[in-house]
């Protein structure tokens, strides 16, 4: 069997903390910021986790999808909530594509078609 090669390896997720190996100060700043962002605030940590899951799908980050699917489940989120969040991401992504069609529409009219 050929050796499986991929840039994305699930076990790399737990090495995320190692990114500070060569630039510890910036990494620390990032992780401090990251921790502060996901703490309970005006939005609960659970709501933030669902937002993160939706964004993870939009930016298509396999590590983030893995991490935030687990995190939302751990926080007691239902399957319905998980899929609604993903659809929110999909709707924004789809909408972002379609809204640019206004530019195409403008151009078509400009061309006098």
């Amino acid at each position: 069997m050929a050796q499986e090669t991929t840039y994305y390896k699930p076990e790399d997720l737990k090495k995320f903390g190692n990114i500070g190996e060569f630039e510890p100060d910036l990494a620390k700043k990032f992780f401090d910021y990251y921790g502060a962002v996901f703490a309970d605030g005006a939005l609960s940590a659970k709501e933030k986790s669902l937002i993160a899951l939706a964004v993870a799908h939009v930016v298509q980050c396999p590590y983030c999808i893995d991490a935030y699917t687990t995190d939302t489940v751990e926080k007691g989120v239902t399957e319905e909530q998980i899929w609604e969040a993903i659809h929110v991401g999909a709707a924004i992504r789809g909408g972002a594509t379609l809204v640019h069609s206004v530019q195409a529409l403008n151009k078509v009219k400009e061309l006098g078609i």
């Binding site: 940590a45 659970k46 995190d71 489940v73 751990e74 926080k75 007691g76 239902t78 399957e79």
Partner: protein, 347 residues
């Protein structure tokens, strides 16, 4: 589903379970739990005292849950005798022992269960029952249990893996969620979980899959809101528990190839604060045959207290208070994250 024992599974052997935990830990380079406690300055782990006597009155149960650490079920026959219960009552009467925590299987299926509760009630100690809810609907013999519990002011602690049907039935069997809701309504009817009644109904949440329980208070709010709004059911508190990587949950982890990730997760999430408050420090666990253990999990792994006192008939509080608690890799389950005990999060 039948129990591991009835299926002749290798995992029915506690030695096999401990061997797997040791081998996986070795393969992953995980520290032993004892080493971790040494780093935290908590080794050897000693009790703070025997406050709670947790008595497993048998492995017979009307359910066969996918994650049961007792490997209980309708095919199990181990049952505590009335004589051993009497010995438990003598121990319970000891000053300083405040609480009787009755567990199983389905403890109500022990033929001497009601006698045991009545006698314990006369001692004026707090009594808790680990009730699986569906037993309250298991026939004529059990239907007046809510009134019986109320009469003796028994605190009812019931597992409900999730506030929705799918995950609950996935863990505890088809139809368990609907029957659990019906049983909760019966308990509410006699006052359990209702503010001002003095009758306490607590629910236990343990994850349905290979993940840790999140924040207990957030989960409690979700459970309360959903159960009240959708089902009209009330309860007092939610206890969030971690699944121990033993028995049928270990089987599930192995089947789904989750054992490495789960053990790593438990070890990574080790919390020294939780380690100071683990339940084995104030609880003594009694097996159906009267053998003594540091906790219910050690009981299921046959890790008996082999000190000067090893049977409930020999109960001696001062000797037991000074014992050394037996540890293995499963203990990481009680010290991960916010920690886990029979009373929920501990840190």
């Amino acid at each position: 589903m039948r129990s591991l024992l009835a299926r002749g599974s290798e995992l029915a052997s506690s030695k096999e379970q401990l061997k797997i935990l040791t081998e996986v830990s070795g393969k992953l380079g995980l520290p032993s739990f004892s080493e971790k406690l040494k780093e935290a300055g908590l080794y050897p782990l000693r009790p703070t005292g025997v406050d709670i006597l947790q008595v497993n009155v048998g492995k017979l149960c009307n359910q066969t849950c996918r994650h049961c650490h007792v490997d209980a079920g309708p095919d199990r026959r181990e049952i505590m005798s009335k004589e051993t219960m009497q010995e438990c009552l003598v121990a319970l009467a000891t000053p300083g022992v405040t609480t009787l925590d009755i567990t199983g299987g389905a403890p109500e299926m022990n033929p001497n269960f009601r006698w045991f509760v009545e006698e314990a009630s006369k001692l004026g100690k707090k009594i808790m029952i680990r009730c699986n809810l569906t037993i309250l609907l298991a026939g004529e013999k059990y239907k007046d249990l809510p009134e019986f519990f109320a009469k003796h002011k028994v605190e009812v602690v019931s597992s409900l893996p999730y506030f929705q049907k799918r995950r609950t039935d996935a863990q505890r069997g088809e139809g368990v969620f609907d029957r659990s809701i019906e049983a909760l309504r019966k308990l509410n009817t006699v006052g359990y979980g209702i503010s001002g009644s003095g009758l306490v109904l607590n629910l236990v949440y343990n994850p349905v899959g290979a993940f840790l329980a999140g924040g207990q208070s957030t989960l409690e709010n979700d459970f309360k809101k959903e159960l009240k709004q959708v089902h009209g059911v009330e309860f007092n508190s939610l206890f969030a528990l971690t699944n121990m990587p033993i028995s049928r949950f270990l089987e599930s982890l192995l089947e789904n190839d989750n054992i490495d990730a789960y053990l790593e997760k438990l070890v990574t999430a080790f919390n020294p604060v939780a380690a100071t408050a683990v339940m084995c420090r104030n609880t003594l666990s009694v097996g159906w045959d009267g053998s003594l253990y540091d906790c219910d999990f050690n009981q299921m792994l046959d890790m008996k207290i082999e000190d000067k006192v090893s049977k409930i008939s020999e109960f001696n509080k001062s000797v037991l208070d000074s014992r050394e608690i037996l540890l293995h890799q499963h203990c990481y389950g009680c010290t991960a994250g916010a920690g886990s005990s029979c009373g929920g999060s501990i840190a």
